[in-house]
C-alpha cells in the first residue's frame, strides 16, 4: 500500500493568484462600487426575507399597516373627543404627520434592529463585520426593507385618511416640484438618524430594542408631526427648527395641503415673531432641510465609524446580553 502524494488545493478561478504568482493587493481593496452594490442588494434581499417571510402575505399586510393606522386613529379620536371648529383642518394635519411618522419609525428601527438582530438573535454580527463587505452598506441594505414596509403603512394611512376620515386631499393641487425633493431629503435624513441609532445600539445591550421607538417618540415632540410647534415654548421651537425632520414634514404638508395649517409657523409662533411671516416659503423649507440634513448625515457617518471602531476595540460585537 503506497501513500498518495498530497494534492495542493486549487483555488476557484476568481480567487486564484495572479498569473505572475504573487499577491495582488488590489484584491483587498475590493471592486469598488460593484462590490458595494452587490453587498447592498444582498443585504436588502436578506432584510426583506427577514421582514416578510415569517407569515402569509395577508397577515403581513395587516401587521404592516396596523401600527401606523392605530397611531393615526389615536390622534383622530383625540381630536374628535375635543371637537371644535378646527377639527376637520386639524385632522388632515394629523393624518399627514402620522403617515410620515411611519417612515421615521421604520427607518430608525430598521437600521438599529439590524444590528441587534445580528448580534443578539442570529449572532452573526461579528462575521458580517469581518467579511469583505462594507458594514455600513450592509446595514443600509438591511434597513431598506423596513423602510419599504413603513412606506406601505404610510400610504395606507393616507388612503384611509382620505377615504374614511374625510381628509381633503386633492391630487390635482399637489405641488410635485416641492414634494419630490423634500421627500428625497427626508428619506436620506431618516436613514442618517437610523445610522446614529445603530451606532448607539452597537454600544448598548439587549434592551436597546425599545431605543429606536423611544428616540422617535422624543423627536415626535419637536418636529411638529401632530401639533403645531407654536404650542411649545419658544426655545423648544428653535430646537425643532434644527431638526431636519421638522422641515421635511412641513415641506410635505405644504406640498399636499397648500392652504392647510403650518407646523412651524402660525399665529404666536417663534417663526412668526422672528420672520414676521406666518409660514416658511417652499424654498426656505428646501434649504433648511438640506442644511440640517447634511449636518445630521455627517454626524451619523462619523458617529457610526467611531462607534464601530470602539466596538471592535472593546469586543462588543459578539456580546450577547439577557435580563
Amino acid at each position: 500500500m503506497t501513500a498518495d502524494a498530497p494534492v495542493a488545493p486549487t483555488a476557484p478561478p476568481a480567487l486564484g493568484s495572479p498569473e505572475w504568482g504573487g499577491f495582488d493587493p488590489a484584491r483587498t481593496r475590493g471592486r469598488g462600487l460593484r462590490d458595494l452594490r452587490r453587498s447592498f442588494m444582498t443585504a436588502a434581499r436578506l432584510g426583506w426575507q427577514t421582514e416578510a417571510n415569517w407569515t402569509d402575505p395577508i397577515l403581513f399586510f395587516i401587521y404592516s399597516v396596523a401600527k401606523p393606522l392605530s397611531t393615526t386613529l389615536i390622534f383622530v379620536v383625540m381630536i374628535e373627543v375635543i371637537g371644535g371648529a378646527s377639527t376637520r383642518e386639524f385632522r388632515g394635519f394629523v393624518v399627514v404627520g402620522t403617515a410620515l411618522w411611519a417612515f421615521v419609525i421604520a427607518g430608525i428601527a430598521g437600521l438599529a434592529w439590524a444590528v441587534l438582530d445580528d448580534r443578539e438573535r442570529y449572532r452573526m454580527l461579528k462575521y458580517v463585520v469581518v467579511s469583505p463587505s462594507d458594514f455600513l452598506t450592509v446595514l443600509l441594505g438591511r434597513g431598506v426593507a423596513r423602510i419599504a414596509v413603513g412606506g406601505m403603512g404610510a400610504a395606507i394611512t393616507l388612503s384611509v385618511g382620505v377615504l374614511a376620515l374625510g381628509v381633503p386631499l386633492d391630487a390635482g393641487r399637489i405641488d410635485w416640484p416641492l414634494l419630490l425633493p423634500v421627500m428625497l431629503g427626508g428619506l436620506v435624513t431618516i436613514v442618517a438618524v437610523g445610522i446614529l441609532l445603530a451606532a448607539v445600539c452597537i454600544q448598548t445591550r439587549q434592551e436597546s430594542w425599545s431605543y429606536p421607538e423611544a428616540a422617535a417618540g422624543a423627536l415626535f415632540l419637536v418636529t411638529g408631526a401632530v401639533f403645531p410647534l407654536s404650542v411649545l415654548p419658544a426655545p423648544v421651537q428653535v430646537v425643532g427648527w434644527l431638526t431636519p425632520l421638522t422641515w421635511w414634514i412641513e415641506g410635505v404638508r405644504l406640498a399636499v395641503f397648500p392652504a392647510g395649517p403650518s407646523g412651524i409657523g402660525g399665529t404666536g409662533s417663534a417663526f412668526a415673531a422672528f420672520t414676521g411671516r406666518v409660514r416658511p416659503e417652499p424654498h426656505e423649507i428646501v434649504v433648511a432641510l438640506l442644511g440640517t440634513g447634511v449636518l445630521v448625515t455627517l454626524a451619523a457617518i462619523v458617529g457610526f465609524r467611531v462607534s464601530l471602531h470602539r466596538a471592535k476595540d472593546r469586543g462588543l460585537l459578539d456580546q450577547t446580553t439577557g435580563s
Binding site: 415569517w54 401587521y63 379620536v77 383625540m78 371644535g84 454600544q203 422624543a218 415626535f220 415632540l221 439577557g322
Partner: protein
C-alpha cells in the same frame, strides 16, 4: 454521602433524594422568584443608557400627546388622562417585551432548556420576571407621572384612595398574568412572536384608550374593557383619580371595573399556569420546544 453539599438529608437512593418536602419545594421556588427578579432590579442601576432611553424619552413621547390636547385647547383633565396613560404604557411595554417575548427569547439564547431541566417550577421563573419587571417599570412610570404632573400642572382629585390603589395593583396582576399567558403562546408561535410583540403596541394603545376615555370607542371600547386589563384598569383609575372631572359616560363605575380586574386576574393566572404546565410537559416529552431556532 454526608460530604456532598447538594444532599440535604441522608437518603437511601437517588429516587429518595428526589422526593422533596413541601418546604424544600417552596423555598426553591421562592429562591427562583428572587433569582429571576434580581437581574431586572439590579439592571436598573447598571445600564446608564436606560435612564435616558427608558425614562427621559418616553416622558417626551407623553409630552407630545399633552401638547396635542393643548393645541386643541382641551379641558385640563385630558392632560391628566394622557399623563396617567403615559405612566401605564411602561407596564404594558414591559409585559409584551419582557414577559410575553421572554421565554421565546430565552429559547433563542439557549437558556430555556436549562429552565426546564432545573428542579424548579417554570411559573416561579415567570413570577420572578414579573416581579423584576414591575419594579423596573414602576420607576419609569413614577418618573413620567411625577415629572409630567409637576411640569404640566396636573391636579388629581382622589376621593377613594384605597380603591385606587386596589385597582392599580389588580391591573398590574392582571397585566402580568396576561403576560404569562402570552409568554406560553409566543413560545409556541416561534418567529411570529417577535412580530406579534410589535403588533400588540399601538393597536392596544388605541383600543385601550390610552390617551382618551375608552368609552368614546363605543362597542370597541366595551370589548376592550372586557378583554384587556390595560383598558379596564386605566379607565377605572381615571375615574378615581379625576373624581371632580366631568368624565364621559359609557363605561362601568370603578367598583365594577375592579371586579372585572379580579376576574381577569384569576382567569389569566389560571390559564397561564395550565399553559405553562402543558408547555413543560411537551418540552420534556418531545424535546423540541426548548431547542434554538425551532
Amino acid at each position: 454521602m454526608s460530604g456532598n453539599p447538594y444532599v440535604h438529608r441522608p437518603t437511601a437512593s437517588p429516587q429518595a433524594a428526589a422526593e422533596w418536602t413541601q418546604r424544600q419545594i417552596l423555598m426553591t421556588n421562592l429562591r427562583t422568584v428572587a433569582g429571576r427578579a434580581y437581574p431586572r432590579v439590579r439592571g436598573l442601576a447598571r445600564e446608564k443608557s436606560w435612564l435616558f432611553f427608558e425614562i427621559l424619552l418616553p416622558f417626551l413621547t407623553t409630552s407630545a400627546f399633552v401638547f396635542v390636547y393643548r393645541a386643541l385647547q382641551a379641558p385640563p383633565e385630558y392632560v391628566g388622562f394622557v399623563v396617567l396613560g403615559g405612566a401605564m404604557t411602561a407596564f404594558w411595554l414591559n409585559v409584551i417585551w419582557m414577559m410575553a417575548s421572554q421565554l421565546w427569547w430565552e429559547k433563542s439564547q439557549g437558556n430555556l432548556e436549562l429552565y426546564f431541566a432545573a428542579p424548579m417550577d417554570i411559573v416561579a421563573v415567570l413570577l420572578g420576571m414579573a416581579v423584576g419587571g414591575m419594579v423596573m417599570s414602576s420607576s419609569r412610570a413614577a418618573v413620567v407621572l411625577v415629572v409630567a404632573t409637576v411640569v404640566y400642572g396636573v391636579t388629581f382629585a382622589v376621593d377613594q384612595w384605597l380603591l385606587l390603589l386596589a385597582v392599580f395593583f389588580l391591573t398590574l396582576t392582571a397585566l402580568y398574568g396576561l403576560g404569562m399567558v402570552l409568554a406560553s403562546l409566543f413560545l409556541m408561535w416561534g418567529r411570529e412572536a417577535y412580530h406579534l410583540t410589535q403588533f400588540l403596541q399601538e393597536p392596544v394603545y388605541f383600543v385601550s384608550g390610552l390617551n382618551f376615555p375608552v368609552g368614546r370607542l363605543g362597542m370597541l371600547g366595551a370589548l376592550a374593557i372586557a378583554l384587556l386589563p390595560l383598558a379596564v384598569g386605566l379607565d377605572a383609575m381615571r375615574q378615581l383619580a379625576f373624581a371632580d372631572a366631568a368624565y364621559p359616560v359609557g363605561t362601568p363605575p370603578p367598583e365594577v371595573e375592579a371586579l372585572i380586574l379580579v376576574v381577569m386576574t384569576v382567569v389569566f393566572l389560571s390559564l397561564a399556569r395550565w399553559m405553562l404546565r402543558t408547555l413543560e410537559r411537551l418540552a420534556r416529552r418531545e424535546g423540541r420546544l426548548t431547542i434554538r431556532w425551532q
